[in-house]
């Protein structure tokens, strides 16, 4: 029965649709066309593009955006970029890597976010007792990277710390990151730690790099298995808890976005630590086609999209909008970050990552 009905119904359907489309098209061909574009994004922006309000706002600008997520640093090497209209990695170095692969293209930085350490109240208390963390304005904690770096060189373990009864674990005190070969957030951690290893200076020469690398290697090798993209370690932090993830390098936006959700995975015993010095990750959109570039323009200029970005935890040039978001949910995060450093040049960072990669094989 179905075998007979199917083609008949199919024909009716086609005829009807054709008629309807013809009718609605006639007389309004002049209207602005909608364009479907596709791009590769870092996983930390997946929720932003999946948000129906974002899609609606983009539609108003005539854009339908399809995204695939990838490790930011993999975008340049693991994909055929000719198939995409834009690439939207996290981090200037990842964008530079793409630009090296595709040549000169327009870039946009619609939003940015600082690197932070997701942690726990009991952990923060232990670190505070040991002088690595200090509380400020009653809520958030500054994390002293210099002292932490010294611990990593001595392979300090949690159970060896003063007042560590709440976490008497034989694991090394190590910030967990993603796979430095694949993902930007780990590369940003490397940028921060190389600054410390180089005596509080951005690594700028081959000599400085060679001197710093032996000290930096254990920060990555000793982590053991690492995940590919920034959502992996944060997912572990949220669902496996303190026993799995005492300290995790994440984007501030990941934490804020989760906190603004209902229901939210953020619990009262969680703590956000701000490394000192700090570093911003710029979310750089590389326009691979003309329409992809338009997306960059729209994301940067459209007030509604800029506001939605803050609702996803990103910071924009409008600091007041960001503050309004976090105040609204009583999230105590610093509006201004002082002592911000720049990542090393693309070549230097790449060079360091390649050296680490050699050792990870």
């Amino acid at each position: 029965m179905n075998r007979i009905l199917a083609p008949v119904l199919g024909l009716i359907l086609l005829a009807g649709l054709g008629y309807a489309i013809f009718n609605s098209m006639s007389g309004q061909l002049a209207l602005k066309a909608q364009i479907t574009i596709s791009g590769l994004i870092g996983s930390e922006k997946e929720a932003f593009f999946a948000d129906p309000r974002v899609q609606q706002a983009l539609l108003k600008q005539g854009l339908i955006v399809k995204t695939e997520k990838a490790g930011s640093r993999q975008i340049a090497t693991a994909f055929d970029l000719k198939k995409y209209d834009f690439a939207f990695p996290a981090g200037q170095p990842a964008a530079d890597k793409i630009l090296q692969a595709v040549g000169k293209r327009p870039t946009y930085v619609p939003f940015f976010t600082p690197m932070v350490i997701a942690s726990w109240q009991p952990i923060a208390k232990i670190l505070e007792a040991n002088g690595v963390v200090r509380e400020k304005d009653g809520v958030y904690y500054w994390f002293d990277l210099d002292r932490y770096f010294a611990w990593t060189q001595q392979e300090t373990r949690w159970k060896d710390l003063k007042d560590s009864a709440a976490y008497p674990v034989n694991k090394s005190v190590l910030i967990r990151t993603t796979d430095v070969r694949k993902s930007n957030s780990a590369a940003m951690y490397l940028a921060l730690m190389s600054y410390i290893a180089n005596g509080q200076r951005v690594v700028a020469s081959r000599e400085e790099m060679d001197a710093a690398l032996p000290k930096l290697l254990p920060l990555f090798l000793r982590q053991g298995y690492t995940e590919y993209s920034s959502e992996g370690p944060f997912e572990n932090y949220l669902s496996l808890g303190m026993g799995s993830s005492p300290l995790v390098m994440i984007y501030e936006s990941q934490f804020i976005h989760e906190a603004l959700k209902t229901p939210s995975g953020i619990r009262p015993n969680m703590a956000l630590l701000y490394p000192e010095p700090g570093l911003f990750t710029r979310h750089v959109l590389v326009g691979l086609s003309e329409n992809g570039a338009r997306l960059g323009q729209v994301l940067s200029d459209d007030p509604e999209l800029q506001k939605l970005a803050t609702e996803h935890g990103f910071r924009t040039t409008d600091t007041a909008a960001f503050k309004a978001q976090t105040d609204n949910r009583k999230l105590a995060v610093p509006t201004e970050l002082v002592q911000i450093i720049d990542p090393p040049s693309y070549e230097t960072l790449e060079g360091m990552i390649q050296s680490i990669e050699q050792q990870m094989k």
């Binding site: 574009i37 695939e68 392979e155 034989n170 190590l174 298995y225 572990n236 959700k261 995975g265």
Partner: protein, 537 residues
Amino acid sequence: MNSTATPKSKFNLFNLIVVVVIALVAWSWFSGKSSTPQPDAQHDSRALRVLAGSELKDIEPLLPQLEKDTGVRLKLDYIGTLEGAEQLAQGANYPLAWFSHAKYLELLEGARARVVAREKIALSPVVVGVRQSLAKQWSWDKNPPSWSDLAARAAKGEFKFAMTNPTSSNSGFSALIALIAALSSDPENFSLTPAQQQTVQDFFKGQRLTAGSSGWLSEAFVREQASLDGIINYESVLLQLNKSGQLREPLTLIYPREGVVTADYPLLLLDANKRADYDKVVAWLKSPAIQERLMKDTDRRPILPSIALEARFGSQTLIELPFPGQRSVVDRILTSYLDEQRLPAHAYFVIDLSGSMQGERLSALKTALLNLTGGDSSLTGQFARFRAREEISFLPFRHYAEPATEFTIASGGATENSLADARQFTQNFVADGGTAIFSALAGAYTQMAHEQIQYPDRYYSVVLMTDGANTSGMSLEQFKSFFRQLPQEAQAIKTFPILFGDSDNVAMQQLADMTGGKVFDGTKNLGAAFKTIRGYQ
């Protein structure tokens, strides 16, 4: 790359009616179709094939709902962890893969390159189930023991447990990694001092039941619970065992103090063209309703942090132990388990060399044994070959049982020589005469009963390979009464019959049932059957 469409702004009422009517007709047609699935759904080419770990079998009941909600049908093909990783590295054609964890797979160069996307679906730590009365007696229910406490009890013979073979199955693999990280003073390096190495050996003195898969292990544990004190498996499997009503005594779940390794069940996309279907499946699996169901029906912990854990999962902080980031480290740990740490195995190979084995069958047998004596250089082949400290006894039979020829696989640099000896012996096999299956098998059990008295700290097992029915010597019934006379310990030794040629499948199944073993099918690939059984030895 770019496609253009026109916005619909001036749809008039008539157009709307036309479209709605068509939509309704189409909907009723499609939904009518989906409510009467084709009987041959199993072979539907539209189904997405998934290479999956056997521990995911309990997901199957959810799949019809998945298809109903998303239109995507998954067909799961089960395989062991390392074997699955190896097949993917060699290019096995699957659009999706799903294992309890993919860490080993991602450490294999060839397999890693194939993963397009990955999403964790649920969580389950690998933990230790201990008989409730023992846990109470040792106060483990109140104060969780460390892994070295477990080792101390195992060394004294007070704690006998079941655990899968780490080279075949993920639960055993995870437990081994956890144990090494827990005992090491430098867990990030997985290095052991000689004293710590001894503790690992102590621990494995208690491993009195092993298996190539987590599911079979828990079934065998139910059968043999009288002689075992515990089982290492996924928390989800242990919770289900407790619910099953098959245990005389419930298991207390022990989360060792130093920590555990947790499975995170990533669904992997391997074929970029199936991205749309993959996204649908992931969105469905990670939706709150399905996450709740996964928790309720399969006892796994949800990956969604917003879903509250039910009380039976306990409230303790689970320390997650490090997992190696380099394949060489994992391989070192696995090799060390096989060659130094586990109870050494004594495997008996009762092999049919009757006349019917001549020709292709004999050469298939020789190839299979060549592989076990070092001829298979693949990843899984290296782990499956005869390992250092192992005793191998060959009992070929024709119309009479030949005396056993025994090989001791030497450790270190001498391993290759002992493998070569065994290799040479098996490659000289000649087939002729009749088939005295049960006399040969009885001979093996008689010997093992003696060996057990002299060497109780060995893991004994029998592989029985025959290509036909019994023609001489003891009958099956005679063997059964002989078997019942054996000492209790000898009766616990499992026989793994391999179906081959014209073997008597009914008799083989009876042998497996009687000895607590398992039948393997060697009719299509004899070598693969021999290799898989190695996980049970």
